[in-house]
C-alpha cells in the first residue's frame, strides 16, 4: 500500500511538472498603446500577430497625455509593459534612463536584409548616442508630418486657384487667405477665416523651417531662435493683427482646435496629417472636399522642409521575453498590417503598403493623399529635446506656445515673447545639459 502511494505520488509530480512546463512555454506580452480612436483596428492587428506568432498579447489603451503619466508610473514600479508606444519627443529621455531595449541586433538580422521594404531613415530618431551611427532603441511604426489642409469648396467659391504642390510663397498664401476670409452678413463677425493657427508646435514649427528658421542652437542644447524664426513669427502675428485673416486663439475657446477647419470656420490650417481621421469623422455625410498642400515658403527659405517625425514602438529593457517582443513589433510593422489597419494620415513604415494604390484611398478625402509621400522626402529638423514638453508648452500651453499666443493677441511683441520663452527653455534645457 505504502509502495503504491509512493508510486502514485511520483507519477503525480512528473505529470504536474509536464503541465507546468507546458504552461511556462505560453508567452503573454503586455502592449500599451496611446490612441483610443484606433483601438478597434489595433486590436485586430494584435490578434493577427498573436495568432501568427503563437503568443498571447494583452493590449491596453490610454489616450495622451494620461498615457505618459501612466507609463511613467509603471516605469517607477519596475512594471513596464513589454511593448509600448513611444514618441520621438521623449525617446531620448527614455533611452538615457535605460528603459528601452537595444534592438540593433534584431534590426540587423530582420530589417536590413530587406531594407528596401522599410523607410529605414526613420530609425535615426531612436538612435543613441549618435543619431546616425548609434544603436536603435525603438522601431518606427509610422511617419507623421504637418501639412497645409485646404478646403477645395471654399477655394472654388472664392474663385481662387488651389495651392500649388510646388508650394506657395507667403505673399501668395496671404492673398488667398484674404480672399477666403468672409463676413457673410457684414455684421463684423467673420464667418470663415482664411487661416487658423495658434502657438502649438504643429502649427508653428513647419512655418519656421520653411523659412530657414530654427528655435534651437546648432548643438540643440539652448534656445536660440535665429532671425528667420523671428521673421516667421512676425509674419504669423501679422495674419491676425494686421490682415485679420486668422482669429486670436481665444475666439475659438470652447471648440476643439482640430474641429475649426472641418467645421468650416477656417479655409486653411496647418497641423499634423493624423487629423485626416478627425476631418473624415467631422465631415461624414457631407460632400465637403479638402486637400493637402506644402507649407508656404518664406523669403529666407532654403528649400521645402517637411516637419515630421516617426511614431515608435519601444520594448522595455526589463522585458523577460525580448525575442517574442521583437517578433511582435516586427509583425505589427510589416506586411500583415494591411491598408485597412493603418492609421489614416500616418505613413506606414512598411514601404510596399505605403506605396500601394490601396493606401491612397482614392474614394475618400483628402483628394490628394499621395502628397504625403511626396512631401515626406523633404523631412528636416524638429525641435524635440529632453524637456521639450515643458519648454514648448505641449501639455500646459505655457512655455513657447503661450508666449506666441500672447504675441498673436497683441499683448507682447515677438521679441518679448521669445525672450520670455527663452528664459523658460534655457532653465529646462539647463537641467539636462548644464549643472544643477
Amino acid at each position: 500500500m505504502q509502495r503504491r502511494t509512493v508510486l502514485l505520488f511520483a507519477l503525480s509530480v512528473v505529470l504536474l511538472s509536464g503541465v507546468v512546463s507546458v504552461q511556462a512555454q505560453d508567452v503573454t506580452l503586455r502592449y500599451f498603446m496611446w490612441d483610443p480612436s484606433f483601438e478597434e483596428s489595433e486590436q485586430q492587428m494584435v490578434d493577427i500577430c498573436a495568432a501568427e506568432l503563437g503568443i498571447n498579447v494583452e493590449m491596453e489603451v490610454i489616450g495622451t497625455p494620461d498615457y505618459w503619466t501612466n507609463l511613467q508610473a509603471q516605469a517607477a514600479a519596475g512594471d513596464l509593459p513589454d511593448i509600448f508606444s513611444m514618441s520621438s519627443g521623449f525617446v531620448d529621455e527614455w533611452i538615457a534612463d535605460g528603459l528601452l531595449l537595444n534592438i540593433q541586433e534584431y534590426i540587423d538580422r530582420d530589417i536590413m536584409p530587406e531594407a528596401d521594404n522599410y523607410f529605414t531613415g526613420l530609425l535615426d530618431v531612436a538612435r543613441a548616442p549618435d543619431k546616425t551611427t548609434g544603436d536603435a532603441y525603438a522601431f518606427p511604426f509610422a511617419f507623421v508630418e504637418t501639412v497645409l489642409f485646404y478646403n477645395l469648396d471654399a477655394f472654388d467659391a472664392a474663385g481662387i486657384e488651389y495651392p500649388s504642390e510646388e508650394g506657395w510663397t507667403w505673399d501668395e498664401f496671404l492673398a488667398a487667405a484674404q480672399a477666403l476670409t468672409i463676413d457673410e452678413g457684414d455684421d463684423g463677425v467673420i464667418d470663415q477665416y482664411g487661416y487658423w493657427f495658434y502657438g502649438r508646435y504643429a502649427h508653428i514649427e513647419s512655418w519656421v523651417y520653411n523659412n530657414g528658421g530654427s528655435f534651437l542652437s546648432d548643438d540643440r542644447t539652448a534656445f536660440a531662435p535665429n532671425d528667420a524664426a523671428v521673421e516667421t513669427l512676425e509674419f504669423l502675428v501679422s495674419l491676425v493683427q494686421e490682415h485679420g485673416v486668422a482669429p486670436v486663439r481665444s475666439e475659438m475657446d470652447g471648440i476643439r482646435q482640430q474641429d475649426v477647419f472641418p467645421l468650416g470656420l477656417a479655409a486653411m490650417w496647418v497641423d499634423g496629417a493624423w487629423n485626416i481621421s478627425n476631418n473624415r469623422d467631422q465631415l461624414e455625410g457631407t460632400d465637403v472636399r479638402w486637400g493637402l498642400a506644402p507649407i508656404p515658403q518664406g523669403p529666407s527659405a532654403e528649400g521645402p522642409a517637411a516637419y515630421g517625425w516617426p511614431d515608435l514602438m519601444g520594448i522595455s529593457a526589463g522585458t523577460e521575453t525580448p525575442d517574442e517582443a521583437w517578433a511582435f513589433v516586427h509583425c505589427m510593422t510589416g506586411p500583415l498590417r494591411t491598408v485597412e489597419l493603418t492609421f489614416p494620415g500616418k505613413i506606414p513604415v512598411y514601404r510596399p503598403t505605403a506605396e500601394s494604390e490601396a493606401w491612397l484611398e482614392l474614394d475618400l478625402m483628402p483628394a490628394n493623399k499621395s502628397f504625403l509621400l511626396d512631401w515626406a522626402v523633404y523631412t528636416g529638423p524638429t525641435s524635440f529635446t529632453p524637456g521639450w514638453g515643458e519648454w514648448r508648452g505641449y501639455v500646459d500651453g505655457a512655455g513657447l506656445e503661450g508666449q506666441i499666443d500672447a504675441a498673436v493677441a497683441g499683448d507682447l511683441t515677438v521679441e518679448e515673447a521669445l525672450a520670455a520663452a527663452g528664459e523658460t527653455a534655457d532653465a529646462v534645457l539647463g537641467r539636462f545639459y548644464g549643472d544643477e
Binding site: 505618459w68 511613467q72 475657446d253 470652447g254 524637456g387 515643458e390 501639455v395 500651453g397 503661450g402
Partner: protein, 289 residues
C-alpha cells in the same frame, strides 16, 4: 472574551495602519524627496535645498501662489454666502422642498469633466450662451472669458459646483436651532432680519467655522476644475498651487520640485488653519442649546 488593555488598539489598528501607510508614510517620504532630483523613472539624486531655492526664485511660483490666494479669498466667502442663502431657502416646511434640496446638491455629485464641458461651452467666446445673451440684451461685443478672466471663471464654476455640499451642512445646523428661540424673539417683536442676525448666525457659528476651515482647505487644494477647464492657462494665469504640483510631478517629471511645492502648500494651509483655530474664540459660540 476577556477585556485587555490592548483591545481598543486592536479595534482601531486597521484604521491606524491605513493612515500610516497611505497618509503619514507618503507625507514623510515627500519630505525626503523634496531634497532630491527625481524623474520617477530613475533613482533620485540628492540636491540639498536646491528645489526650495529654485522655487522662491521662480516668477512662476509667485504667480501661482498669487492665483491661489486670489482663488481662496474669492471662493471661500462666495461659497459660504451662497450656501447659507440656499440653506435658508430650502430649510422651510414646504411641499416638495426635498426636490429643491436635491437640485441644489446635484452639481456637487456631477462629474467635473461633464461640468467643465458644459461651462466651457457657456463661456465660449464665439458660440457661448453667455456672450450670446449679453449681446442680445445689451449689444456687447464678445468677451473671451476663458482667456481674459480664466481664474474668475474657475472661481465661479467651483462655487456653483460645491455650494450644494456646504448648503446641506448649513441645513443640518439650521435644523439644530430650537424653534422656541424664534418664537420667543417674535413675541418680543424681533424682525426676521433681527432673528437671523441675533439667533441664526450666532448659533450657526460652530457650523460656519467648520465650513470655513473646510472651504479654505478645498480652495488651496483646487485641481479638478483647473485640469478640466483651462489647464492652468493662458500662461499660468489660472494655475493654482495644487495644479502646479501636479504639472511638475506628472507632466514635467520633477518629483523633487513638486514635493517641495507640496510642503509649502501644506505649511500655508497649516498656518491658516492654526490661525483660524486661535481666532475662533472671538466669534464661535462654544455652548449651544
Amino acid at each position: 472574551m476577556r477585556y485587555k488593555k490592548i483591545t481598543p488598539y486592536l479595534f482601531i489598528a486597521p484604521m491606524l495602519i491605513g493612515l500610516i501607510l497611505f497618509r503619514l508614510g507618503p507625507i514623510v517620504a515627500a519630505l525626503f524627496i523634496s531634497f532630491t532630483k527625481w524623474n520617477i523613472r530613475t533613482p533620485p539624486e540628492y540636491l540639498g535645498l536646491a528645489n526650495y531655492t529654485e522655487m522662491f526664485a521662480s516668477e512662476t511660483f509667485w504667480l501661482v501662489l498669487k492665483n491661489t490666494l486670489v482663488f481662496a479669498v474669492a471662493y471661500v466667502p462666495g461659497v459660504m454666502i451662497l450656501a447659507l442663502i440656499m440653506a435658508l431657502l430650502v430649510n422651510q416646511k414646504l411641499r416638495g422642498i426635498g426636490f429643491y434640496r436635491a437640485l441644489f446638491f446635484m452639481p456637487y455629485i456631477t462629474s467635473m469633466v461633464a461640468v467643465a464641458m458644459v461651462w466651457n461651452w457657456i463661456f465660449s467666446t464665439r458660440f457661448g450662451i453667455l456672450n450670446n445673451t449679453l449681446r442680445s440684451l445689451f449689444g456687447t461685443s464678445n468677451t473671451a472669458w476663458l482667456n481674459d478672466y480664466p481664474l474668475w471663471v474657475l472661481i465661479i464654476v467651483t462655487i456653483w459646483k460645491t455650494s450644494g455640499f456646504q448648503m446641506m451642512i448649513y441645513v443640518a445646523g439650521l435644523q439644530g436651532i430650537p424653534g422656541y428661540l424664534y418664537e420667543a424673539a417674535r413675541i418680543d417683536g424681533a424682525t426676521r432680519w433681527q432673528q437671523f442676525r441675533y439667533i441664526t448666525l450666532p448659533l450657526l457659528s460652530p457650523i460656519t467655522f467648520f465650513i470655513l476651515i473646510f472651504s479654505i482647505i478645498a480652495a488651496f487644494r483646487t485641481f479638478e476644475v483647473t485640469f478640466a477647464m483651462t489647464g492652468g492657462g493662458p500662461l499660468n494665469r489660472s494655475t493654482t498651487l495644487a495644479y502646479y504640483i501636479y504639472q511638475n510631478a506628472f507632466v514635467f517629471n520633477r518629483m523633487g520640485f513638486a514635493s517641495s511645492l507640496a510642503y509649502v502648500l501644506m505649511f500655508i494651509v497649516g498656518v491658516i488653519t492654526v490661525l483660524n483655530f486661535y481666532g475662533r474664540r472671538r466669534w464661535v459660540i462654544k455652548d449651544t442649546y
